[in-house]
């Protein structure tokens, strides 16, 4: 049986959106797929050496439940509907939301992003950085982890054209 292939494009650079590409890639690899992820635009942030830079923002995201990851059950159940206008004015709101999100992740036994990325690397998932966006955003290759390749759209198609699954995230 020929090995199945999955190609992903990761375009988002926030803590929450770091999950789909790394979860799908690590799982596909465990199922025997050959996997490549092409990181472009803000997705490049997922290749940074320091992943603690990743944040989550409740601003402009009405789908994000705002609940506290600690305290008694009744307290955890409260949904904190804070208007965007207020969120945008409070200094450090994003950092606070990120801290709470990380606590929620830990409480639920969900893997951290560095952990999932390491699992992908361990499973030979090929990580490709978009060279155009590296230049566009003024990044250096030294900003990113070792062992990744850099290329453009044509590089992506070389693998994606033969893939069984291809997703834009």
């Amino acid at each position: 049986m020929e090995e199945k292939k999955m190609a992903l494009i990761a375009t988002k650079g926030t803590l929450d959106w770091a999950y789909p590409p790394f979860i799908l890639a690590s799982t596909a690899a465990a199922l025997g797929y050959q996997v490549q992820i092409f990181f472009t635009f803000y997705g490049l942030q997922l290749l940074r050496k320091d992943l603690s830079l990743l944040k989550v923002s409740p601003l402009g995201n009405p789908g994000m439940p705002m609940k506290m990851p600690f305290g008694p059950k009744w307290f955890k159940g409260i949904s904190w509907n804070i208007p965007n206008a207020v969120q945008s004015l409070v200094p450090g709101y994003e950092s606070l939301a990120t801290t709470l999100m990380k606590q929620t992740i830990a409480n639920n036994g969900v893997a951290t992003i560095p952990e999932l990325r390491d699992l992908c690397i361990e499973a030979d998932v090929k990580l490709i950085g978009c060279q155009m966006t590296v230049d566009l955003f003024g990044f250096e290759h030294s900003d990113f982890i070792d062992g990744i390749e850099y290329g453009g759209a044509a590089t992506f198609f070389e693998f994606a054209g033969e893939s069984d699954i291809c997703l834009f995230i």
Binding site: I23, S26, T27, A30, L31, G32, N108, G109, V110, A111, L119
Partner: protein, 75 residues
Amino acid sequence: MNHDKELDARGLNCPLPILRTKKTLSELASGQVLKVSATDPGSVKDMQAFAKQTGNELVSSAENAGEYVFLIRKR
């Protein structure tokens, strides 16, 4: 049923139980049986899907008081 190795995936959430299962299975020889304990309710369906796609046999799948136990025979 006897098993050759045990994996405690309790408290872990998707996709960790599957990833750990895959990793632990690689330490077994063909025909040996791995016992996996998990608390993630999603792992019931995921373990079936994992077995089906990788050709490892899901010998049994059971639930007891919020805990799931799977026996998987390596292909």
